[in-house]
């Protein structure tokens, strides 16, 4: 079983990463990008959720492949770590994978909520990510 303890110290949202994007590309572009990220994250979590219920390992793997990279890019460090760990955990039984996917889903939902909250609280009309 993969231990999620290693990810405990990692933040759900690493603001140094998002701030680097702001510094590089500016507020407007960053907001557009984060909007895309949140939409994609929502879709991927939904996909993983359904695949976990249906116990469809291939769909989970495909979704994890995208998730592990995009979350790392946008500073969702804890979720990135978990997605990567599950993607690389080839020795797990299917049942173990589905259990871990549920854990990942929980972290994923927290991350999604945090991103929505964080960027909504920045206070522009563009930030409606609900």
């Amino acid at each position: 079983m993969i231990s999620s303890n290693a990810s405990v110290s990692l933040p759900l949202l690493d603001q140094t990463v998002t701030q680097a994007i702001v510094d590089d590309l500016g507020d407007d572009v960053t907001h557009q990008l984060l909007h895309l990220f949140i939409q994609e994250l929502q879709q991927l979590l939904h996909k993983i959720n359904i695949a976990t219920v249906e116990q469809d390992n291939a769909v989970i793997t495909d979704a994890l492949h995208i998730l592990k990279n995009s979350t790392a890019l946008y500073g969702a460090s804890k979720l990135a770590f978990m997605a990567n760990a599950l993607y690389e955990a080839r020795l797990l039984t299917p049942l173990q994978r589905f259990e871990y996917a549920k854990e990942l889903m929980a972290i994923g939902q927290q991350t999604l909520a945090l991103y929505r909250f964080h960027f909504k609280s920045q206070g522009t009309s563009k930030d409606n990510y609900e």
Binding site: D24, L33, Y87
Partner: protein, 465 residues
């Protein structure tokens, strides 16, 4: 960060919408124009429509592998540079991608600086490649300087060489001795993608049969008495380049079978070894015989002939190349004058006329030797008839003497019936000389050559008339 030309197009092929969008914005900030594709087939369609300068290519895509996209791109002319982006788990694939011609690979996640730097370098490489391509086109044109000619026959040869230079297909060059078969092979090598590789020439007629296999495939130590060390053969040495097999029809049948085997499999064994080796070689072969006749008479394997004769190039003899002889002569005169520190500038009109009339049995090699002889033996600005080597003049005289028209003129004159019919010898001689000069359009040195005397003899006699 350096800004680049705004027209420089970069395709980003990445299945994550948010990741691809981030890469695009980072590249746009650096001045690139970008397009994002989330699957391989959309990217392939766009590439067919318009080739970008650089492609940032994810390996794992939902439909096809990024390596398939890479292979597709690299088969096209003016191919883009491809930067592979990959996560840790697909490093092996990325290494394979580099082998397939990828420009760079970056492990995900990466910084904006790393991505932009890689794309800038790829774009730079793309520009250099375009310059190299243009240079290669120029190089082919320059190479033609060595295979000088404007005649229709040579234009056909140039077209064939141009097409052949873009492929790896075997080329079979035929032509009389001295027509420039090896120069043709060297030109082909220099103009093609293998120009940086070795050009190895073997004269199949010059190597003893018992040594041929060793020369060709190499041998291991102790393979035969005298094999004191391991030695690479021509096929191994020519790896990545071109192997030119001159006088291919002289190759023994047993070796022809081994050459065929190599052409079929790309593998060979050194003499005395069972270890299979590979070599990537382009074969250009040449003969002054008629290869299909050799096949007909059983001296050359038919299957080998068809495998080698993918692009046949027939070099015309010099006598059939019209004014090319003068172009070549001027080219050689200039070259030899520089080599020998002489001041020759041109040929006299008489020499030019002689060159055009001469049948050049030794073809370009004979022309080259003739001019080298003149340049070494004399030092003037203009090549005159008196400088021509005697063997060339004599050959022309003998040729003319044996032509049917001249044979008729050599018949004994009609018998005279009375002393009043006898014509003085100096008048006979004068008429003969004037007739010869008229036949040569007033060209006295040429007429002298035909008459078998020197031009100065004719001038002296004319002065006396």
């Amino acid at each position: 960060m350096n800004k680049v030309n705004h027209n420089t197009l970069v395709y980003v092929v990445e299945d994550s919408l948010s990741s691809g969008a981030l890469y695009c914005r980072q590249l746009e900030k650096a001045g690139f124009t970008t397009k994002h594709f989330i699957d391989g087939y959309s990217a392939l369609a766009a590439i067919q429509q318009h080739m970008p300068a650089v492609i940032v290519q994810d390996v794992k895509l939902p439909d096809i592998s990024g390596l398939d996209v890479l292979q597709f791109v690299k088969k096209l002319s003016s191919a883009a540079q491809v930067v592979i982006i990959t996560s840790d788990s697909s490093i092996d694939i990325a290494v394979e991608a580099m082998r397939l011609g990828g420009f760079d690979f970056i492990e995900k996640p990466f910084t904006a600086e790393r991505l932009v730097a890689s794309v800038i370098n790829a774009n730079k490489q793309n520009k250099e490649d375009q310059v190299t391509t243009n240079h290669k086109t120029e190089k082919l044109l320059l190479s033609k300087e060595n295979v000088v000619g404007e005649s229709l026959a040579m234009q056909t040869v140039f077209r064939l060489l141009h097409s052949a230079s873009r492929s790896k297909a075997s080329v079979f060059v035929t032509g009389e001795s001295g027509t420039g078969k090896e120069v043709c092979a060297q030109t082909l090598h220099n103009s093609g993608a293998r120009s940086q590789g070795p050009f190895i020439a073997i004269n199949c007629a010059a190597i003893p049969a018992e040594l041929f296999e060793s020369e060709f495939f190499g041998h291991v130590k102790g393979a035969f008495s005298g094999a004191l060390t391991e030695r690479k053969g021509a096929i191994e040495v020519a790896n990545g380049g071109t192997l030119f097999l001159d006088e291919i029809c002289e190759m023994a049948l047993s070796l022809q079978a081994k050459l065929l085997r190599f052409l079929q499999t790309g593998t060979f064994c050194k003499v005395g070894s069972n270890e299979l080796q590979q070599s990537d070689v382009r074969i250009i072969c040449a003969t002054n015989r008629n290869p299909s006749a050799e096949v007909g008479e059983g001296r050359f394997r038919e299957d080998l002939y068809y495998r080698l004769n993918v692009i046949p190039v027939k070099l015309p003899p010099l006598r059939e190349r019209g004014n090319d002889v003068l172009l070549l002569a001027k080219h050689i005169l200039q070259k030899k004058s520089v080599e020998n520190g002489k001041a020759f500038q041109q040929f006299s009109p008489e020499v030019e006329q002689f060159f055009l009339n001469y049948d050049w049995p030794g073809n370009i090699r004979e022309l080259q030797n003739t001019i080298e002889n003149i340049v070494v033996m004399h030092d003037e600005a203009v090549v005159s008839m008196s400088m021509l080597p005697s063997n060339v003049v004599k050959h022309q005289y003998d040729t003319l003497k044996n032509t049917p028209a001249n044979q008729t003129s050599q018949n004994p004159p009609n018998p005279v019936h009375s002393h009043r019919d006898i014509v003085p010898l100096w008048i006979v001689e004068k008429n003969t000389i004037l007739s010869a000069i008229a036949s040569c359009d007033g060209n006295i040195p040429l007429a002298a050559a035909y008459l078998g005397v020197s031009a100065s003899t004719i001038y002296r006699k004319m002065k006396a008339w």
